[in-house]
């Protein structure tokens, strides 16, 4: 069942296979003082492992899909952080919200237009 919250053992195992890449990436990022977080380094490592054929996509596929499906859950704790910013609870918060919304609309429209324009010029849209 796609909407099920709890993963099956296989899905959990597949998601667990991501952990060593995350750990290795975090270790590299810390030891080498990289300006990039460990998770991004870990993504690069996994990409390399997939390209070299050391890891097969099918080994991780269902675990990754489960994580993607419930991605919003993992953003919730950061969102609750708004309680520590009471200055945003009043009018300033509403003005900030309007700024975020207007800026987001501008970003989406300009990005969509730029990609679409180039895609049509190259004749593949």
């Amino acid at each position: 069942m796609r909407s099920l919250l709890l993963p099956s053992a296989r899905v959990a195992l597949q998601a667990g296979l991501l952990l060593p890449f995350w750990a290795a990436g975090s270790l590299l990022s810390a030891k080498l003082h990289l300006p990039v977080p460990g998770a991004v380094v870990g993504m690069g490592l996994l990409l390399g492992a997939l390209a070299l054929g050391l890891v097969r996509a099918e080994w991780l596929e269902e675990g990754a899909e489960w994580l993607f499906r419930h991605m919003l859950l993992f953003f919730i704790p950061a969102a609750v952080g708004v309680v520590d910013h009471r200055e945003l609870f009043g009018g300033a918060g509403l003005r900030a919200l309007a700024a975020v919304a207007a800026s987001t609309a501008l970003v989406m429209l300009s990005t969509g237009a730029a990609v679409e324009w180039f895609a049509r010029r190259r004749g593949d849209a």
């Binding site: 998601a15 991501l18 890449f21 995350w22 990436g25 975090s26 990039v36 998770a39 991004v40 993504m43 996994l46 990409l47 996509a57 991780l60 596929e61 675990g63 990754a64 994580l67 993607f68 419930h70 991605m71 919003l72 859950l73 993992f74 953003f75 919730i76 704790p77 950061a78 969102a79 609750v80 952080g81 708004v82 309680v83 520590d84 300033a92 900030a96 919200l97 309007a98 700024a99 975020v100 919304a101 207007a102 800026s103 987001t104 609309a105 970003v107 989406m108 429209l109 300009s110 990005t111 969509g112 730029a114 990609v115 679409e116 324009w117 180039f118 895609a119 190259r122 593949d124 849209a125």
Partner: protein
């Protein structure tokens, strides 16, 4: 309530909001709005500090690490398509990133926010960990940036759906790119609903935009001057 209790409450509220949202489709029932709102009400009502909540919440948030690693998979699957369309995607990445930072700063200023709040808003369109890193380079407050990033995701789900439905975009690349650049992970989750290519493009653009911002942050700080 114990740390495990707060973690369980977060998951339970997420599950409840998700069920309501899937049944109704109403945006204000989005798990990213309803669950944090309920948790904020609980913390305020019972005078629980955020730090106490985070003893349970932080481990959940850390799962975004493996989620980020997992983006290697759609990128790998769609690698030949992504390589073929590097020009279009690169253009979107540059245009979108410039618009994101400049319009965030300008609109924060227009909204009457102070300099530190504006600097905290500048990196809001990229994924949380990268945005927080960029915020500290720019002289913003990382925890305030995290809030702006989340609000961006929330607003972005609504606006993204509207724009994708109304704009006459023929290219799935354009749809994926605008969602990934405009609303980071939340937009990418939305793009994955549209299709595998849209999802991969959104994931790629999201990560590249974050890395580009990190690379550009020191120069941007010089432009903005000292706090």
């Amino acid at each position: 309530m114990s740390a495990a209790g707060w973690a369980a409450a977060t998951v339970a509220l997420y599950a409840a909001a998700r069920a309501l949202y899937r049944r109704s489709g109403a945006v204000f029932l989005s798990p990213l709005l309803l669950a944090p709102a309920a948790l904020v009400a609980l913390l305020l009502g019972f005078h629980v500090p955020y730090a106490r909540y985070m003893q349970g919440g932080e481990p959940l948030g850390r799962v975004l690490g493996p989620v980020t690693v997992a983006f290697a998979l759609p990128l790998y699957r769609q690698r030949s398509l992504l390589r073929r369309h590097a020009v279009e995607l690169g253009a979107g990445l540059l245009v979108g990133s410039l618009v994101a930072v400049s319009s965030s700063l300008a609109l924060a200023w227009a909204a009457g926010l102070d300099g530190v709040a504006a600097r905290s808003m500048a990196p809001r369109s990229v994924t949380t960990p990268l945005a927080m890193l960029a915020a500290s380079t720019l002289g913003g407050v990382p925890s305030l940036t995290a809030v702006f990033v989340i609000v961006t995701g929330l607003v972005g789900i609504v606006l993204g759906r509207l724009i994708v439905e109304r704009l006459p975009l023929r290219s799935p690349l354009a749809r994926g790119a605008l969602l990934g650049l405009g609303a980071h992970g939340a937009g990418t989750a939305e793009a994955m609903q549209l299709g595998a290519l849209e999802g991969a493009v959104a994931g790629l653009v999201m990560i590249c935009a974050g890395l580009l911002l990190l690379a550009g942050a020191p120069a941007l700080r010089m432009v903005l001057g000292a706090v």
